[in-house]
Symmetry: C2
Subunit: 492 residues, 2 copies
């Protein structure tokens, strides 16, 4: 397969699809809309998981595991939630195959093995979890209940794209229960902040924190907090959401607690999640026409060493040196791979590591051996420098931080230069079509206007920013009064 990618300018969507496959991140499977996450892609996801898991535990959460299936009667208990997911859920109806009498060697569903009640493959787990919490919560002493689950979920989407929208995806879903409304809101906000911190500090992706409008809310939520990122093509991507669920699920599943004062009340709830969709955000925030660009925090190999040699003696000497370098770098918790494959020439290795986004490449050739030097090549800037071997460890340590920060800064500058304030609907449409990005505009607060703008422009309200500044204005579409700007964008 050719390693050359379609350029972003030529076809952004094609560039993305090719990159995901050629960089060995994921591929489509034989199951409609379901992906295979390949080892290299999964290694990046594992790094995200490890950091998020650490952050969840640091904020007092524990992991648990709930069933994959939701009986239909539980699924439909919280009406809005059910309505929101009913149109895209995989349903198990039978539990046995049998030999097909009409097709020898083939199997068919055994019609006698029909389930009494259909099982929904979880599209999200509020229903099965709140049905379980009913047994766990009696008193204020059982609260707060702070639980997270790492799991697969299934939503039978009609149009799918690797990582961005797949029928099955991996995610974590937090589900918490609280004594008071205020405490639950605080939790939902806290977890949205955890996601923002993770996206910015770990993934080097700047995000806007905000709340969703009613029509964009999670089905069953009272308030949906979110982090919104901006991709290089000017489209927004919802990178994580955290929901204040009020007492909706507690009422649907009859989960009450006795307070310190002996009063009975329904419990207050939150849920929050991020998914393998973050892989899409990562790719589309940092990568370029040569392939993936990874922030050091997320790179399975932060550094790769490529030997350049003609003789076996040279290779032997370079290998000795590489081993020393690796042990020094490993001691500083920097992961290094020595690419000693004999089946590929250095140029082909360079191209592969560029395609796969290894942050830093070290090349060592015979001249370097002579002069006590190595060549460093940064993936993010595509710049090279020759440095003295004895400064290697400290230089690389510095570069890991420098690259991480520089990627964030670059993405932030792009994002900030793509938030445009507009005050007329003509400007709105022009900016959307020519420049893209977030459009900061006044909106009259009605679902009708929101729907109309979406219909006319395909732009949706990504969020009402948390740090919105009070500003009186008039709706960009209806001219009706507004008290602050919201962010519109076309979105993934």
């Amino acid at each position: 397969m050719s390693k050359n990618l379609t350029s972003r300018a030529e076809d952004y969507s094609k560039w993305y699809n090719e990159l995901v496959v050629k960089a060995d991140l994921a591929e489509n499977s034989a199951v409609r809309g379901c992906m295979v996450i390949k080892p290299y892609g999964y290694a990046i996801w594992e790094k995200m998981q490890a950091e998020l898991d650490r952050m969840f535990k640091e904020t007092g959460h524990e992991n648990a595991y709930f069933p994959l299936f939701v009986p239909k009667s539980l699924f439909e208990a919280e009406e809005k939630n059910a309505e929101g997911f009913a149109k895209e859920c995989a349903i198990v109806t039978h539990y046995r195959l049998q030999n097909d009498p009409e097709n020898p060697g083939k199997l068919r569903v055994d019609p006698e093995a029909k389930l009494e009640e259909e099982l929904i493959v979880r599209p999200t787990s509020e229903a099965i979890i709140w049905n379980t919490y009913k047994g766990w919560i009696q008193s204020y002493r059982d609260l707060p209940l702070l639980i997270n689950q790492w799991a697969n979920v299934v939503r039978w989407e009609m149009r799918t794209r690797l990582f961005l929208r797949t029928a099955e995806f991996l995610w974590q879903e937090g589900h918490t229960a609280h004594e008071t409304k205020a405490e639950a809101i605080k939790e939902a906000e806290l977890m949205n902040n955890v996601y923002a911190t993770f996206a910015e500090n770990f993934m080097a992706i700047p995000v806007v924190k905000g709340v969703k409008t009613e029509s964009e809310r999670f089905a069953g939520a009272v308030e949906t907090y979110c982090i919104e990122a901006l991709m290089q093509d000017g489209k927004a991507l919802q990178a994580g959401t955290s929901h204040f669920l009020g007492q909706n699920f507690a009422k649907a599943f009859d989960v009450k607690f006795t307070s310190k004062e002996g009063k009975q009340d329904y419990v207050w709830a939150t849920s929050w999640g991020v998914s393998t969709r973050l892989m899409g955000a990562l790719i589309m925030t940092h990568s370029d026409d040569k392939g993936l660009v990874l922030p050091p925090n997320l790179a399975p190999n932060q550094v790769v060493i490529v030997p350049i040699y003609k003789t076996d003696e040279q290779l032997e000497e370079i290998t000795k040196l590489a081993n020393l370098m690796m042990s020094d770098l490993n001691a500083k918790h920097i992961s290094v791979k020595f690419d000693s494959r004999t089946t590929l020439r250095p140029g082909a290795k360079f191209a592969q590591h560029e395609l796969q986004g290894v942050p830093l490449r070290i090349a060592i050739g015979p001249k370097d051996l002579e002069h006590g030097t190595v060549e460093l090549a940064r993936r993010d800037t595509l710049t090279k420098e020759v440095i003295a071997l004895d400064t290697l460890t400290s230089t690389v340590e510095g570069l890991m931080i420098e690259i991480q920060n520089s990627l964030y800064k670059k993405a932030l500058e792009f994002r900030d230069s793509h938030i445009t304030l507009v005050d007329s609907f003509d400007d709105f449409k022009t900016v959307l079509e020519t420049k893209g990005g977030f459009i900061s505009a006044h909106w009259d607060g009605t679902a009708e206007t929101e729907a109309k703008i979406k219909e006319l422009t395909k732009a949706t309200i990504r969020c009402i920013p948390i740090d919105e500044i009070a500003e009186n204005g008039t709706c960009v579409y209806t001219g009706k009064p507004s008290k602050g700007r919201v962010l519109f964008a076309k979105a993934y």
Copy 2:
């Protein structure tokens, strides 16, 4: 709920079921046969996962993720495998719900949203993975392919028990591809050895390594390696399996490679897995009538500190001391929990930590403050000692190793004293009914005899031990010649 468990002598099975629930490890869910793994149980499973994952990576394996669903046509491609799982698989037939016109407020399966091809919820992933490998393997350069997946799988078992046999369970499944038969066999053996090392060194569970007879083999395997453990009630438990799959799946999915010499050949395969069933093995190997007993390696909290006080001043002083102790112990990578709950008396805390198997309890009361001492209580031996505070860290460090080793030794002595050599079928039946355990006996090597013995005694051949000593003898049932003993037992 009472914390008192049914004793093992009274009803072993009831003791197990109660322990799992009362120690907060897992519980049954609203979905038939599917369990909820509670935070305390999941924390133990996470420790197993972390260590296994480390061992897999150390032996060159990478993680990846494959779809939850297997299209029926792929599922049936490897005939024996399909036959083995067809009778217990959950089948997705539809992808949408709709409002039920006959029951307002209820949902029903939308009859128009029928899948063209049914999807099987994976009972194991050979089919979907080998269908994927077809695209990944062309040449010897692509081999070996060493991949592991952490996933949920579903087998629609009729009789289920928490951890031991559940419709959905969590596991890891390794799937590797090799150039030669010898290399694949070596891999299958290596991974069985990894499981044995993990069970013995990490879980403190002695195991017998062996191979399964043909009738007990994994559906689709040429050889199944296994590790077999012995529970306290004298029943065996298969704790892990590793399969040499020959070229069966390569042939079913047409996966060929070009060798160095330019020849085309089918790839050789292995698969291997352990599951949340290991939680059952852990519980039934070490626990007692007071509850769970955990080896320090698997304990979410290795040490708990319980304050004993009458006044707030005493509590304050104990808290200060506990904080110092915790920071010293944490520095030695020992996890400690300070149980400062004011809603429970010390006695109730002691009982709970015993029930949950915390390896070491430290109690500090006013007299200890006076004398510079603390009281240590070991969970495994239920013994107590008072020690000088200034020897605490080194004593606890030593005890962590001592408890881990002592649990293994105890389990090993029990296991070894429950392997009985028998040479007549009468002895076979007597030993099985009175003492249980493994019965080491000669067998004529036929499936008929194996089936007959199973029918008459419920004992199965657990394995042909790897370290079997050649010994001429006669079959315990038929009197026909045999060249070595195999291990029989009743099993979970």
